[in-house]
Amino acid sequence: MKEVFQMLNDPRFHLLYGVTQRFSTGPEPQLARLNREGFKLVEGVTRKTLVHPRMRLAVHPSPLRGDAFSPIFGRISEINERSIFVEAVEPTEEQRQAAENVEKNRVDLLTLPERGAELGMILKGLGLNTRSLGQHCKTLIINALNPDPGVTWAEPMLLTHLDTLKAGLEVLRRLSPAERILLAVPREMRLHHHDMEVVHVPSQYPASVNALVVKAVTGRENPDGVGIVGLHNVWSLGRVARTGLPLIETVLTIGSLEHSGNYIVKEGSTIGELLHFANIELKNGDTLVRGGPLRGESLDRLDRSVTKGSTGVFVVEAGTIPPMQGHSPCINCGACVLICPARLSPGLLSRNAEFALHERNRAEHIECCLECGLCGYVCIARRPVLQYIRLSKYKLAQADAAAKLEELRSASAESAAASGNASAAQQGGA
């Protein structure tokens, strides 16, 4: 209904694109930029260190975050708080040798006896983020829809990279305690597998938003005991299971208005190199987006890189959409209200945020926002509606944290006064 009468008459919102080609291999990066926020460098890794592909560079203290590996033969050119930069070099004999050793040490995941969290630790050591792999649920849904409009890798992944997915699924079965694992695919895709439970769900964006896929599969909103993982993650698991090597690649769609293609690229590839490789030229005033066109983030520089979670890189050409202007008050047109899949009033939420009335947004159930971005897509005043909502959520979370701290403080002060053991209590409170 919404599509026919309203604003979503853009065919790109139908998340099925008929793309079935196998993924192309992306460029060999000349410069790789790896995220190291929160990571601890492996001993011996410093500036100037020579590295080889799949060499472990840094480890994250969280058991759910995969280790960081070098994607290429190179030399570390810079390390700062946020990133590790690796410059490509012609490998020395020593580097080649080391790389070969890595190749020899393949882990055969599917013969390992470990399951659950122990398996999780092994996967972490292979560079996989296991945080969102459904480790606490009874039912696990695999979201096999293209996450954002414009992202097209889900279909070819399902149709032509099935072996990788099956291997991934096998690992997932061992990793997750879920009794049932369901594969949610677009309704129009007549996909049946004897060893996989397939559910057909609607495929018009925002149908691919996790919460809405869960709703489509279970019929309930935010039910307990149901987890959801992206197809992308299953592919990564499968890739590791099949190669037995640490993961240093990711699949993404690189697209502009005219071109679009799916690539397996090295993690840490810079956006500039990827666009160059895909023959997409940038002009002044274009917007560069990492992630999907509806939910991604815009970047100001070409030397930013893609990570395992990136779903795509998009160029939105100047002039293809009306520009966002600085001051654009909400004119109450109600378009966002009609489109919001969470049944909220995004206009009102954004106005409250604009005037720093964040507390009012609690009563408006701002926490129910699914961050699908549609409110901004239809806003005729070109307001950054989702941005306002995120701001408000952030401010509210801050306020909550402050309140909690205050509570702890006063509680500890009380107990300190009662017991006289001031110093210990204070430490507990801080």
């Binding site: 979503l8 790109r12 190199e273 002044n284 520009p323 109450n332 009609l338 049944r343 239809v378």
Partner: protein, 319 residues
Amino acid sequence: MSAAATSVLLAMSAPPYWHCGRTIRQVSLYMLAGLMPAAVMAVCNWGLPAARVMALCVVTAVLVEALCQKVMGRELSVDDFTAVNAGLLLSFLLPAAAPWWLVMLGACIAVTLGKMAFGGLGTNPVNTPLVGWAVLFVSFPLLMDPNAMQLATDYADPLIRLRYFGVAAAEAIPFTDLLLGRQIGGLGAGQAGALFLGGSLLAAFGIIRWQIALGFFLGVAGPAALCHMLDPALNASPFFHLCTGSVLLGGFFLATEPANAPSRPLPMFIYGLLGGALTIAIRKYGVYVDGTPFAVLLVNLLTPLLDLIRPKPFGARSS
């Protein structure tokens, strides 16, 4: 590669990076396009005086808005065509023979009191053109009465006939005359066929909310049909009611101004129904022959209440 990287200036913005392409200006232009058939028919039926009133009204509305924005120290935004829209809608409610000062006064009041006083577009609690209309109507009833102003015409005023000469006299006016706008009324409001054409196209494109328009017309037609069935000698047919006065203008273009209408489908529909039913109630029991503008003003005021009808947000825990 890196040389190219530094030479390009990228635009930063907030998600989403795609957009439906509709802007305030574009929507206003669509609205104007939807009003065009009626404007053309108005000139056909009333001649140049109608064009004069429309032009004067639009120009005044735009100038007054620009002036207000200047005085308020705002960025000029008359290029979004919303003032043109409001001006044109107001002129549609005026008689073609209205004196120039009346037209200008109306446009002036509509824009200042009906829009800018509350802070500009989208903040007004009631429909902008109707504010101008209401002030004029109350202050200068004689000049606002098309029947008294439009002496040199062969057309009849169907609603006056209905009230004072009975159903038979009213329904003696051929249906095609009503559709083609050959009736006395507001210069654009009476162009029933043209308004229906423009309005339904806009509704189909999603520019105006079909729920409101549909509700409004059902609200008019339902009670009218009921009365007509009970006593056809006293009550005109629902079609007569739909095509006379400013019902079509009200249902398609006035009640649907989104800022003062509810924004969810069910409340929109109820709002429309109430507006339509009120119109019939005023026509039947009130002192005014055409109840539409007042009915719309009244339901505008109900909008905050109707907006309370809302579904539970996604996955919200019931508290």
